[in-house]
Symmetry: C2
Subunit: 115 residues, 2 copies
Amino acid sequence: MPANLYEYAYMLEKGIRNSGEFATLKQAYENVQANSGAKALFDHFRHLQLKLQEKQVQGLPITEEEAKQAQASMAAAQANPAIVQLINAEQRLSAVLNEINKILVKPIEELYAGK
Amino acid sequence: MPANLYEYAYMLEKGIRNSGEFATLKQAYENVQANSGAKALFDHFRHLQLKLQEKQVQGLPITEEEAKQAQASMAAAQANPAIVQLINAEQRLSAVLNEINKILVKPIEELYAGK
Ligand SMILES: [Ca+2]
Ligand SMILES: [Ca+2]
């Protein structure tokens, strides 16, 4: 990768690290970590979520049992305010990263659109 | 998104637009566009590729007929040097974007790794 792209990417990374969105995520993550009940619920929820996502990516079927487990785990997680805050904070930072990505793929998009 | 993140993202986008990797992609894309035979092969190959990717994302089955079509289309595309150059150029720019993305998700990764 060209050296100046590394430089710009690291500036952007530092900007993300210093953003209000990241500070909110960090605080929400630490709140969940500090509460053993919330932490256990969140870890279980995230573990199931990643497992199902992996199966989906690999095109493997998701069993009824697994779908039920995931739903129950999500319901339990969503009943916990600290976890809800963490998931919302993740979604807001993820939206920022999506916006950044849309900007970065513009050169390719425009080329392929014949602009 | 915070204003400074937009600024940094646009600097990075401009850096991508001015990179050797993007210039190579642009040239390879224009070579394919200028050759009606190569263009038809590439468009057909890309159309099938996107169709199958979409099915995979949606968890829909890919028929034997579709897999055969995709293989034949890929073989025809790979026999064309202009298309091979374009696919290679796409992969090199895609590698740059992946490296950038790895840098941008570091704050989140480190937070979740407890660093
Ligand atoms: Ca280079
Ligand atoms: Ca903000």
